[in-house]
Symmetry: C2
Subunit: 314 residues, 2 copies
């Protein structure tokens, strides 16, 4: 469930006017920006943007970029984009940042539904005049390329059918591939990039039953190169993305010099989807509420904005 | 332009009744079946099927299958399916027939628009409860798998922008890959499976300018294994699919023991699209009309049906 608190009725025109007022005069009234945009869902934000454009002949997102700064600006900018468009931007930034960005591409490809991934690919066309897979393929090689391109281009079957025999035999193939670095990666890539999520879940369960440990634990021992790291991320995102996001947040908070980019990415992407569940997983794992842990590490308007998206009452 | 001649107005109910009548009694009245279904476009055929089902509580396609036989039955069956669904069936049959079917998969992936390929992938989900790429990947390996899966999963950018510098450098990469069997196939696969059709056209033109021969001619010298054959088909379909289809028909007609399956596939797939153009290309290349060439090689109701789809007046 979502953590975002948005009103059922609102006036895009009134919001646009209030934002305009917040921009005027000396300095920006960030409090108002947070009070409005931190409490509007994706459809409402698009309507506000449209209203603002109609009334003031100015793009609200561009104006926000010039009014705000730092982590707060980046968070509001990403929050303002429609979901698929935001993920297209995230993917593009990730591609450009090379090795450090592969996990973001894997996240988008493995967490979203097949139809949502498709929407991101369409948004990528519109924004960059190239295909997502084109840019990934140009910037990677070998097994890493095969895996990343395979994940973003896959259109998995969404049904609930499970082939138990297949799950067993493919768990063995994955085991062979994972246990040594020179394993049969082509087959592991085939399985992870084409099977339905339900089938993969059954395969991961078989792996645990037959080999006494989870495939992610086993992979972690070998996850030293980019390919194995991406493989590890893919399996975790496909298997249980809430647990995966909990760990992204945990690492971002723990790190010396907090990783605001990761915090923004997870909160902005999931606040309207399943952030409540991620918060529960976080509390269960850390015995401290996510908001409290974050409050100690981030600050200023950025902190206020992120906590608002996490459902903090004003 | 299409060769199919269909009325602008028609009554699905009356057609359903006339077909029912044609099925009754001793033997089937094939003439009526051809006169009706050979003159209805895809929307009209779907309406007739719906009407028939409503009136007689029976699936028209199933009934047609039991009434007709041989090449005629197969042609009518494929003709009755909605486009994406038909291509899903063709792809599935192709996958099951292995080496002999790869060109059909390549055709579907490279001739159709990115949105049309997507529709086929959706239809494949519905029909087979698996993804198209899943079935291809399970039945192939190595470079052939990479190429086929890459082609069907690609969602190419559809714009007209051309990067001339890129076309030149990638023409060189293709040249390196094509000139010897042990070339850099990974890069050739990357280019052919991700670049937009317009960009690829520019790349193929660069190839011809810089290397004095077309890439398909060069490839043909090496096209002995399945991978190189598929590569050759892909480039021909991407470059000029009407020329490609002309050759499929020419070979099907020339072959000792005519290749009815190929004739059916091309005519049924293109009669509502660009069959007129394919006929022109055929005449230009062979100095004989496609209908006349076909009339000598095929026979019976199948012949009548195919010629009807090719625009022959009754």
């Amino acid at each position: 469930m979502a953590t975002l608190i948005a009103p059922t009725s609102f006036s895009p025109g009134a919001d646009a006017e209030a934002l305009r007022k917040a921009f005027q005069g000396w300095g920006t009234d960030e409090k108002t920006v947070i009070a409005i945009l931190g409490h509007r869902n994706v459809y409402q934000r698009q309507q506000i943007r449209k209203s603002y454009e109609e009334i003031y002949q100015e793009d609200l997102i561009k104006r926000l970029e010039s009014e705000l700064s730092g982590d707060f600006e980046r968070a509001v900018y990403r929050w303002m984009l429609e979901h698929a468009d935001r993920d297209a931007v995230l993917a593009n930034v990730a591609i450009k940042s090379g090795s450090k960005g592969y996990h973001v591409i894997v996240e988008i490809a493995c967490v979203l539904s097949p139809e949502e991934v498709l929407a991101v690919r369409r948004a990528y066309h519109n924004r960059y005049k190239r295909s997502l897979e084109e840019d990934i393929a140009t910037n990677t090689t070998g097994h890493l390329r095969q895996l990343l391109v395979g994940l973003v281009t896959s259109f998995r079957y969404g049904g609930d059918e499970i082939n138990a025999k297949l799950a067993k035999s493919e768990a063995d193939i994955l085991h062979e591939s994972v246990k040594e670095k020179k394993g049969n990666h082509e087959e592991a890539i085939r399985i992870l990039t084409t099977r339905s999520k339900t089938q993969l879940m059954a395969t991961f369960n078989c792996y645990r039953d037959d080999h006494g440990t989870s495939i992610t634990k086993k992979l972690l021992d070998n996850a030293s190169d980019d390919f194995h790291k991406a493989l590890h991320t893919a399996i975790r995102c496909l298997n249980d993305h809430n647990k995966y996001y909990e760990k992204v947040l945990r690492n971002a908070i723990k790190r010396v010099g907090t990783d605001e980019d990761a915090i923004t990415r997870v909160v902005v992407s999931r606040a309207e989807k399943d952030m409540k569940h991620i918060k529960e997983v976080y509390y269960k794992r850390n015995s401290v509420h996510l908001e409290d842990a974050l409050a100690k590490e981030i600050s200023g308007d950025y902190k206020k904005f992120i906590l608002t998206l996490l459902g903090k009452k004003d």
